[in-house]
Amino acid sequence: MTIDKIRPGGVIDPYLPVRARISRIIEENPRIRTLVLEPLEELPAANGARSTAGRSSAYQPGQFVMVSVPHCGEAPISLASSPHEPELRLSVLKVGLLTEALHRLPVGAEVGLRGPYGRPFPLADLHGRRLLFIAGGIGLAPLRSVLESCLAEPEKFGPLTLLYGSRTPADLAFGEDLARWQQSGRVDCRLTVDQGAPGWTGAVGLVTELLAELEPAPEQTSVLICGPPPMIRAVCRQTAATGIAPEQIITTLERQMKCGLGLCRHCHLDHHLVCVDGPVYTLAQLQQLEIMELG
């Protein structure tokens, strides 16, 4: 009988989380908070190789990590930070037991991370193009990662426009980022809320109404979308109608996931597993799949 450790020969165990400490918390709104994380160990990548968390080579915009929260298990959460930033960021909507627990953790507490997983946004394919970001609510988190990457290498990308919708003015999240992007003069940020409130002077209506005011040049524009499924559906339809090719309309999907490795099958989508074949898809790819978001 032999006794072996679970990691014989120094092989990385793909399910083993690494520790990460919460170094700062940004309360984005009553339901969304951003955790700024400092990994205490190297992140094992999906292929078992070691990558270095928090450094630019470690992950790409659009990828996600499996986040462990004490006594709550794990959930897949998009990385909201850009690989060009020194720190890891997770922006979390309070929506279930695990995310509610994440909202109770103080600065200094630790979470577990494994990843990064999934196919990222195809940034190299977007070089030289006008980028139109369309986000609703927490959906800005993965797009923030792309936006910050574009801002870090401005010479590689055309003009950046962001349409961001929230339910009410109080629900507007990522205020720090929005202010900074607006002040930079490099992102045309346009905000809207579903329901106005006293003091709100901005647009009221769905993000699709903001989109209708734009006249994107269909040949030169790529669209990046993230938000609730009805928003993805409406925005895909509307941007495609402006003549933008379905290959240039890109979104990222949310699914239940337990492994991130293409094994547990909770994220099955037609013949795909979103954790390894997605979560980032072009509209052209989604049109080949039977998918709830396109209803």
Binding site: T2, K5, P8, R19, E110, V111, Q256, K258, H271
Partner: protein, 345 residues
């Protein structure tokens, strides 16, 4: 399989006693309740394998157990959150009396779990296992392995493959572990004359004719691939399914799982991996309520598409091995045979 030997039926028990000194022996055993299960035989003198019945469980229970203790976790007072894998023992295990469907199922699990270093515990157990197969001279009542090319005889994949010739077993040597057994314990085996090898083929032909069910899996596979199923199939199956998940748990190739934390006290807990089933309500539902699968209509769709369409596309063969366990277990009439029959309507 190349080299062929004869093992006298009288020598089987002594051989197993000898092998049990080197390996943990797992074989079909009839228990006190009258059920035959694959289980560990601690004392091969007292316990004789039951080679006449189909075990209710499969080798999945041993290679990819229903509950796997992944980690212990610990929280310290400074907010630290530590994971520690449990110390594990992996005894070399000899699985004896494995029918072709179950052996093909292990080969499928290999395809799922071995590539890409995604799965350490399966690899560890598999690398420490030997498989001695037993061809089926007489298919069991619910079997349809021939319809999915998984039996009733096995052509490759085991270490040793046995065929019951009556007074003797024909022993075919497959993978390296089998040759090692012959090399180490040669006195149990004698060379097989040509007529005994020919009897194997005769028995194979008889077994192929011995199925009590006519199952047109090919037609279901073709209609799934061409998207030409008769209308209403999924709805009927969804209505019949009673959400017990028994089919997935008994299935030797179902590998869906979940990972959960089990708190022990305020500062300690365990992370477990448990079998799950794509048919389970909530399998795809997300926190917040979105569910990309319509459970009322599509809850069995992924199950049968995965086995008979997606795996055919990906691996070149269906991942249903025709063992028939789900047929015997399903009380709602939503098993894979029912699907195959509906698909051929």
């Amino acid at each position: 399989m190349s080299d062929q030997y004869l093992l006298s039926r009288d020598h089987l028990a002594p051989l197993l006693r000898r092998l049990a000194k080197e390996y943990r022996l797992v074989a079909p055993v009839r228990n006190d309740h009258g059920d035959t299960m694959f289980q560990e035989i601690a004392n091969p003198v007292a316990t004789v394998p039951d080679l006449e019945s189909q075990p209710q469980n499969s080798l999945k229970d041993f290679l990819f157990p229903q509950q796997e203790h992944l980690y212990d976790y610990r929280l310290d007072d400074a907010g630290g959150y530590h994971f520690q894998p449990p110390a594990t023992t992996t005894p070399p295990t000899l699985f004896f009396g494995v029918r072709p469907c179950d052996l093909n199922a292990v080969l499928y699990l290999d395809v799922v779990f071995l590539p890409g270093r995604r799965e350490l515990s399966y690899r560890r157990r598999r690398e420490n296992s030997l498989l001695i197969g037993l061809n089926c001279n007489q298919p069991f009542a619910d079997c349809f392995c021939a319809a999915v090319n998984a039996g009733p005889f096995l052509e490759e994949g085991s270490d040793l493959q046995l065929t019951d010739l009556g007074r003797d077993f024909l022993v075919e040597v497959g993978r390296a572990g089998g040759a090692e057994i012959i090399r180490r314990w040669p006195h149990f085996f004698r060379s097989a004359p040509a007529e005994e090898r020919n009897r194997r083929f005769q028995l194979y032909l008889e077994a192929r004719g011995g199925f009590s069910r006519q199952v047109h899996a090919d037609q279901a596979i073709k209609r799934l691939a061409a998207d030409t199923l008769p209308s209403g199939v999924w709805e009927e199956l969804a209505t019949r399914c009673q959400d017990c998940n028994g089919c997935a748990y008994l299935c030797p190739t179902c590998t869906c799982f979940t990972i959960v934390d089990q708190p022990q006290d305020q500062h300690h807990g365990r992370r477990l991996r448990l079998w799950d089933a794509c048919t389970a309500t909530g399998f795809t539902a997300m926190a917040g309520g979105h569910n990309p699968v319509q459970p009322g209509k599509d809850k069995l769709r992924q199950r049968f598409r995965h086995k008979l369409e997606l795996d055919v596309k990906k691996h070149g063969r269906p991942s249903c091995m025709g063992c028939g366990r789900c047929v015997g277990a399903c009380f709602g009439g939503a098993d894979i045979l029912h699907f195959i029959n509906l698909a051929g309507r």
